[in-house]
Amino acid sequence: MTLKTTFLGAAAALALTSGAALADPAIIFDLGGKFDKSFNESSYNGAERWKAETGGSYRDVELQSDAQREQALRRFAENGFNPIIMAGFSFATALETVAADFPDTKFAIIDMVVDAPNVRSVVFNEHEGSYLVGIAAAYAAEGDTVSFVGGMDIPLISKFACGYAQGFKSVKPEGEVIVNMTGTTPAAWNDPVKGGELTRAQKAAGSEVVFAAAGGTGLGVLQTAADEDMLAIGVDSNQNYLQPGHVLTSMVKRVDNAVYDAFMQGEDLETGIFVMGLANEGVGAAIDEYNEALITPEMKAAMDDATAKIISGEVVVHDYMSDETCPAY
């Protein structure tokens, strides 16, 4: 009897707390965890910025297993959280079913397109930002060879590599871009040692600038580039400060802005496909006090020129994911 009342009390308490949280937004981080110095952390920063500016509160969770994707989505939707943001493309399958079951809840997914009336799909023109850093690499390199270290071998990462190669070849058409992927499993996102080995091998093959689009693996690339006196290019968050003087620039992807915007709109979240590119500052090349000295005036001019031309549509950077081929390599 007492046990039963305890349970009922607990149920009532739960119902009350979830009632109070009505219409708060929620964010679900991917398996990498929210402090990954890269993608998830960027979305966390966006949510925190919203919290600091509005004084609101939000619910977040880091998943432990794939089976929890749908569960977390459903539990948050059932308890009235709105909108619900997902950081990462792996949520697509779960979202497709859950979005249909909760037509009054708004969802936002980053890095993937899910076609449903109550879903905002935020995708980034990584190829445009990568094109810019490719130009920077071409000006920074004295010779004709630069390189790229990718994380897991998926089309998204080839999109970075392809944009980078196109930018580089727009300046040095006869040059060479060495492209290496760290692996074919998710472990490739967190293998800094192998990232370092690949960088060393690329240096031996003549590379002077290396662009790392590899999550945690990239930290090893940046470290090795500093050890071997090369230049590196960071990714996602601004990583210029990690190895000052050896990070030429970072191809930033403003995931934080995507989360911040979605939280700001709240329950009235506009749905549909939102493309974050150079034009709306969704991607770009980071310049700050850590890399100013490395950016020469003509490099800056060429990058600004390319930015203007991409925004105006004069230059179209080929998107690898549109046809899974790359004209530049």
């Binding site: 149920a11 619910r59 880091e62 432990q64 794939d66 089976a67 569960q71 459903r74 074919t184 998710p186």
Partner: protein, 367 residues
Amino acid sequence: MNKMPKWADAVLIPLISILLAFFFSGLVIWAIGKDPVVAIKTMVQGAFGSTSGISYTLYYATNFIFTGLAVAVAYHARLFNIGGEGQAMLGGLGVTLVCLAVPWPHWTLALPAAMIGGALFGAAWAFIPAWLQAKRGSHIVITTIMFNYIGAALLGYLLTKVLKVPGSMLTESARFPEGAHLPNFSEILAPFGINFSPNAPANMAFFVALLCTFLFWILIWKTRLGYEIRAYGQSETAAKYAGINPSRIVIIAMLISGGLAGLMAINNVMGEAERLIDNAVEGAGFIGIAVALMGRNHPIGILLAALLFGFLYQGGAELSFWESIPRELVVVIQALVIMFTGALDNMVRMPLEKLFVALGKNKKKEA
């Protein structure tokens, strides 16, 4: 020598161990500034308070029953199979190949075929370490754990190069056809007028797990093969003297073990995900070791231990959803339970045994 009564061995020791584990977990929760009572309530409510919660608990428990039984079969032959993880992964591959090969008209046909596929692949993955142990004396602990890594690498390769849907970024196979859909608890219970959450993962595989638990009991305690397995486990020399062929027992026990681990895939791959995803086993193979240890390698014990771990998994998920307790601490709590029930068994057992011996002596004196 005086021994403890059976009920104390089977019930009292695990109970005390669990209570100790929960006590220390409570201390951990308290140390990070949360209320342990609220946390326990959230876990219990989350795991058993709704049909959806129950369904998740049973879903996880189903995984653990399969892997727990797998470890236990091998353990009766004194073989420590810690390759359940890899065998379950390969079982997932077998189930996937079966489900994708044929446009199945109905699950009643797809399920038996998938079971054969999963069990065959799991058993095949266990066969190599078993053969190496039986014929070459390579220690099974080393080989099975190494085969986990080989299995993970093999599946990673297949998922990125062969089974992946072209153009997709997700490392997963295509979705299984409709006909391979296993009814979940909602669909099973609807004809009986029972409402069950339609979107929760517990499915037909749970009943297969129960059936396997029963068959396990028959095999180990009611058949000649089970007798041979136990005899070999108790004493290899005695078994040899009795005319039991050790190589044969090692290989057969490991094949059954791997097959049971592979059968887990009908739950997580066929029942829940309905496609093969990377790292689909998510540690259930290792949890199986804890489940078997805690369940004393007895089917009833394994069933109860699997339920406990199902509760820990689902309750742990609810903890991180609602109490903002970081997932790392949820793992700490799970680890505490494993430590107290598995590794620190003697810590509870020794004093208890002494206590019972003392009690026994007193009684004799009185008599």
